[in-house]
Subunit: 362 residues, 2 copies
Amino acid sequence: MRIEGISHAALEVTEAGVVRVLDQTLLPHQVVWRELAAARDAENAIREMWVRGAPLIGVTAAFGVALAMRVDASDASLQAVCSRLLATRPTAVNLAWALGQMTQALRTLSEPSRAVAALTLAKGLAAADVAVNHAIGAAGLPVLKAIHDRKGRVDILTHCNAGWLATVDRGTATAPIYAARDAGLQVHVWVDETRPRNQGASLTAWELGQEGIAHTLIVDNAGGLLMQQGKVDLVIVGADRVTAGGDVCNKIGTYLKALAARDNGLPFYVAAPRSSIDREIQDALCIPIEERSPREVTHVQGLDADGILRQVQVTPHGTRVHNPGFDLTPARLITALITEHGLIPATSKHIEDIFKEAHNYA
Amino acid sequence: MRIEGISHAALEVTEAGVVRVLDQTLLPHQVVWRELAAARDAENAIREMWVRGAPLIGVTAAFGVALAMRVDASDASLQAVCSRLLATRPTAVNLAWALGQMTQALRTLSEPSRAVAALTLAKGLAAADVAVNHAIGAAGLPVLKAIHDRKGRVDILTHCNAGWLATVDRGTATAPIYAARDAGLQVHVWVDETRPRNQGASLTAWELGQEGIAHTLIVDNAGGLLMQQGKVDLVIVGADRVTAGGDVCNKIGTYLKALAARDNGLPFYVAAPRSSIDREIQDALCIPIEERSPREVTHVQGLDADGILRQVQVTPHGTRVHNPGFDLTPARLITALITEHGLIPATSKHIEDIFKEAHNYA
């Protein structure tokens, strides 16, 4: 996608083999690329949230493995880097999935061939992510087109950032939106600011702005009213982990929007690649919910009047905070999953079926 | 209630007749009292949100009328000040109610007697507000006590600030909580931060802290997950306007918490005085929803590392914002209204009944 009109991906590999990521903690105020020179940099990039978003976390971890293989391609090294990377963030299952893909492939290779193979594999996962997201876009497009045919425009509400910044490119929840734009439909996006980290206000608003897609920022509290007032046609969000039964773990606050959509008779879609599905987990309440720093709630980062990036404290000193990063949206509230294998109902049968399909983007 | 251990009300009248209010735009960082010397100061206090909260807006407006009567007690002056005060904020009906009470009483008096009478009336409305809130506390206490008897503690979720800062004293949604504390129950409050103005983070957390009541701040997105995890026993919120049929207009985001409470089988209470009921309005969608400044969403105010109060910009430059201040919670989602006339179902019949009651706190 575009930054100031120039094509970029959220993770790029230069011709010289340098891996770099956009530091998303500084957006929308500063565009800073950070080189991942070693596995530790990849770990740090995920932990410090230079990169975030389930698919991008997975791909970044794959490059972390590749970087480790350059230094030490032993089984011990492979196991160590995977376990360190796995510990960076607990909720998104794409991390475990990508590490599983890398381990499975590399284990069978001789040590000397692992470094080159690992880089090729990681690049493959990155390319597959982009292909998957285009397929998600194609799968979701008819939904938007049907609404557009009826009313001449589509108003989509989205939560957090499941945009191209959450993936290598194109995004998951945004993929149908970009596909609709490319198809000439008039789209408008209601962007939840997504407290506490404001990924909507700082990332989704920024990427949609860069792509010239009409959007309006709202606080997370406002979506329900907009639905009551008939200003929303549908909701599309991403996912950090989908259970075998179709329950969805996604950014905190997603569940509330699903409830509001249901109460107002509006469709609620979850756009996610197959790699976000965790077939091992039946009960969504068993998904580990990351508890993040209180400072994300007590302090807010932004530009002051002099254009300096600062954090300000909103709360009384010493206020106790609970800051869970994700919540659970039961399958019963989900109209369909938008996957690279098409639109599927959020049921265990339909989910199981897509794992039987021969076509595998990775 | 207490500030640094000293008893205060959100609006105070000194023995010398000076009216002053706590400037709530500076909380929790600075405790600054502002004198209301003229009617324009009262208008300004409401418009700039030094005072906010439906009951406190009403009482402040009453003092605004009293201040106008000191200067010019004519019918024209009375009408003019009421119409200016009415225009300060559109949603809370207590404003119109208080102005109605003042006008009705003053119109029948001779001009020379109006100034003294108006001050007495305004003081009477302030005193009645406190009495009403104590009655709301008493009405809500058995609900909390029943939960406490069962599990040895009560976890209440509240949204925005319907605390003593939203009234003259004691609060509406907080009144049962303070009553429970006074009765020796172990209470803990989940405080929604309440974007965009953060009244939960800056006001509710502060006032509960000053009162020594256990509380934990969460982002507005988190309440649904906490309910899913069984960490919330009930929700209590305030109201800016209640329709004849029991629908509730309250701070944006209230509706989402009501939906989550319903989905998790939890009781959802609205604490509000009779003066928040608008018997003229049948359809909640007809209540004027205040559209507030985009800056409330794009910028956040807080203390920087040097202890200086600053605003920082979170969003990309030029981001379009929609900032409605209130939403609508249908009566069907409300377990009961907690009023000074007791706990009543949110139905037109029960609402009509309390207007037939002889006892009138004002």
